[in-house]
Symmetry: C2
Subunit: 97 residues, 2 copies
């Protein structure tokens, strides 16, 4: 419990999946987008394992070009995101203005 009453821990995988669904990205782009939204940079030790989990769950495909790896959603990832979004919206109904 931080001073802002919640740390929103446990939402990183969901957020990554959502971000990649809007546009295929590589890790650095995902990190930058999270900085814009959360105001703080996720540690590489946080971000890349989270990406790896999504990949191992079959939710992300990767295309390696040189040193960058671009991630896209698999069909299974799209489905998982749909389910998670529906759940998310139901839980937090009314929070958004």
């Amino acid at each position: 419990m931080d001073e802002e009453c919640c740390d929103m821990r446990g939402m990183l995988g969901f957020l990554i999946l959502f971000l990649v669904s809007k546009k295929p990205m590589h890790g650095k782009e995902i990190a930058d987008e999270i900085i814009k939204r959360k105001g703080e940079k996720p540690s590489p030790g946080t971000l890349y394992p989270a990406i790896k989990n999504l990949r191992e769950a079959g939710f992300l495909d990767e295309v390696k070009e040189g040193k960058t790896i671009t991630y896209t959603l698999t069909p299974s990832g799209k489905k998982a995101l749909t389910v998670a979004k529906r759940k998310f919206c139901k839980i937090f109904l009314g929070v958004f203005p």
Copy 2:
């Protein structure tokens, strides 16, 4: 990482604060509302410590009537919720349809 790609761990305090902001409630009512939203019941060992944290942070006032305790937001709790909601909306911008 569960099969739905996120467990939304770390959001319970925020959710409780939001629910109580809409209507003063006691613990059982909060639990029932969470069941409706998440589809599963929070363990008492989860719910009551979370409430206690919010109370000790100065975000909740309590009025005891018999065996039930009704919680309301303190001014500080209202302010914390406002800050947390703004943060939440910024992070998850675009997730809601």
